[in-house]
């Protein structure tokens, strides 16, 4: 990666780390690519279904050649071709609660890039239960959001969305913004895993490409949160505030 960016120790920490990325669409694709190219030791991808033509406007891991074939396995093959030192695991479906818990338990970070809030909140819960950081990357049209969270020391996703927002089956995607948000998610993960750089703990980054505006917003923890307030006691919150 080059001297002055990551210390040798930091690069070794990356090599020894595992990242769980659920789904590999417009953001999970570029995020997993950047993690693989950075040398994160194990990258676990979860995505069900085949690659279809309308997805190609944001699929950096796919191409016309892979249409109508399972997405997770072909994307994993592509990632392996990009860095032979990285172990890539493909899960060819959306993990349920138990499976997501098992995957989080053997990962050092969760990257949430799912199309539904149901799955995002599930990933948040399992990351909180496994006491590992959680990065939420999302987009709509030309707008993207990124949250870098660690339940117990920052807000968790359930603090931010106490009520599950409505599902939207069809939404617009500009690949340039999903790819930017996915890459920034990988950047934050690289900082977390390597211990190098200042992590945007507890913050929401808004990337409003439509209005040409960006902002970092510290997120408020909900003391009544159904997820993190029942998992962590006040002593843990106080002890970990220095991370924020």
């Amino acid at each position: 990666m080059g001297a002055g960016v990551l210390s040798e120790e930091g690069q070794l920490r990356l090599k020894g780390a595992s990242a769980f990325v659920s789904r590999t669409g417009g953001m999970g694709g570029p995020a997993s690519l950047m993690l693989t190219m950075a040398g994160v030791g194990r990258v676990i991808l979860a995505h069900g279904g085949d690659l279809i033509s309308p997805d190609l406007n944001r699929q950096v891991l796919g191409s016309e050649r892979g249409l109508e074939t399972p997405r997770a396995t072909q994307f994993a093959d592509y990632l392996r071709s990009m860095n032979r030192f990285v172990t890539v695991e493909a899960i060819d479906h959306e993990p349920n609660d138990a499976e997501a818990m098992e995957l989080a338990a053997r990962s050092d970070i969760v990257l949430s890039c799912a199309p539904t809030f149901e799955e995002r909140l599930r990933l948040n819960r399992v990351a909180a239960a496994a006491r590992i950081p959680f990065i939420d990357a999302a987009q709509w049209g030309m707008m993207g959001t990124l949250m870098v969270l660690r339940a117990g020391s920052t807000a968790c996703l359930q603090c931010v969305y106490p009520t599950q927002p409505p599902f939207e089956e069809l939404f617009p995607v500009v690949g340039a913004i999903s790819s930017a948000v996915g890459s920034l998610a990988a950047l934050e993960a690289i900082k977390v895993l390597s211990g190098c750089g200042r992590v945007a703990w507890g913050q929401l980054l808004t990337l409003d490409g439509f209005q040409a505006q960006t902002a970092f917003v510290p997120l408020r923890r909900d003391p009544q949160c159904r997820c993190c307030s029942t998992m962590f006691n006040d002593v843990e919150f106080n002890d970990m505030e220095e991370c924020v």
């Binding site: 417009g26 890039c113 987009q139 707008m143 106490p162 599902f167 808004t206 409003d208 505006q213 510290p218």
Partner: protein, 86 residues
């Protein structure tokens, strides 16, 4: 009084034509501001309760889960509709 309103996130295009400032009685609550914004939105569209609420860049929760918020002249209110596109 006047407050500055910025709306982003899901379906941001629907609010693109709204004025940057809205007029409210002084004092006003967040709910009154949201009611005014909903009147200005295209017919049949309203802000969802899970919109994040920022006042002067500080996160106060969501529209359906926040402590009482009173607004003052010149306040900057940002509402972010939840985004989940994968």
């Amino acid at each position: 009084m006047k407050i500055r309103v910025s709306i982003m996130g899901r379906s941001y295009h629907m609010t693109d034509g709204l004025h940057e400032f809205i007029e409210l009685d002084d004092p006003a609550t967040l709910e009154e501001a949201v009611q005014r914004i909903n009147q200005l939105m295209p017919e049949g569209q309203t802000l969802t309760g899970s919109c994040l609420v920022l006042l002067g860049g500080t996160h106060f929760g969501s529209l359906d889960n926040h402590d009482p918020i009173s607004l003052s002249d010149g306040d900057e209110l940002t509402l972010i509709a939840p985004v989940a596109g994968g």
